[in-house]
Amino acid sequence: MSAATEEQVSYWELIRNGILKENTIFRLALSLCPAIAVTNNLKNGFFMGVAVVVVQVMVNLTISAMRNFIHPRIRLPIFMLVISGWVTIVNLVMDAAVPDVYKDVGLYIQLIVAFASILARAEMFASKNTVVPSVFDGIGMGTGFFIALMIISFFREVVGKGQVWGIPIIDAKPLLILILPAGGFFAVGILMAAFNWMYAKYFSSGGQSH
């Protein structure tokens, strides 16, 4: 983990780590459920991504601020409590602010609680670092997730409906399958392969890790 020497690790590096090296969806293959469920159009993907960024940053902030007061043996229940508290807040705010999007993604917003990635960052990073790096780590991991969601939902909406954010851009018969549930799996499979290929080619000299 990159938590060893926090002075040397620049904040930019933390963000870059979350977006590329440990991209939640494409590299670690965690928290996949919403990645497919809500990405049949860009708007849903956008709000889901925002919700995750907010929860991840706030959880990291809260836990790193409280880390000296949490007894190690009961840390996991406390982390869960903090996460579900923030998820509840985000859930209620989304319900009030964007009701039409909430109708589609509400269930998945509530299920952010069960995201392995958020708990993992709280455990691996925020509980060992001070507030500022933890916030940047949260921004990085959240943004990585956000970007992945945006790429998947952009791809699915353009190819599946010929639209971007509900505005038609392609005047051809779209490939309807991509907005069907099954298409979500195809889209993620193809994009994940593309990400693996790109990563292997440009960002690392060695082979694949998995």
Partner: protein
Amino acid sequence: MDFGKLFELVVSSSLVNNYVFTMFLGLCIFFGVTKKMETAIGMSITFTTVMMISAALSWIVYKFIMVPLNIEFLLIIVFIGIVAGLVQGSDTVMRKVTPDLYNKLGIYLALISTNCIILAVPLQSVGNKYNFIETIAFAFGSGLGFSLAMIIMASIREKLELADVPVPFRGLPMAFVITGLIALAFTGFSGLITL
């Protein structure tokens, strides 16, 4: 009790609205344990059992504690607490009472708390205002559907080991494409029952 309704509920939650193929929940576990048939079956048994108990428990807590106290907005916190507590509790009990069973299934028990289906079932049964029996039927159907998905997937992936897959697609990406194909087949169930 209307058994026709219950039967519909089981069929709809296991086939028509299969959690893995139409709602995309529980994918982490789904891809994690389906590399071998044996683990897939172990997970299916453990998962279905725990899900029925946790759904029943959540329903009771919601109906008799949260509604009278007007604290429905704490839904998420309470339900995750119930699931985590239940998993931890049954882990401890199983280890003491049936060590044999624990050796076989204990490892899956630990994984369950990271599964979103286990949380989605109580949330949805509260959202759809199911009664107690319906909640259990719904949980059973969802568990059945998840087991079915895992067993199909495991049998395909065991064969896939021998296939020559293009390098960037090796591992997870290919598993995703296959899941897409199965999901496509499952869309065939969509007209079966309309609740």
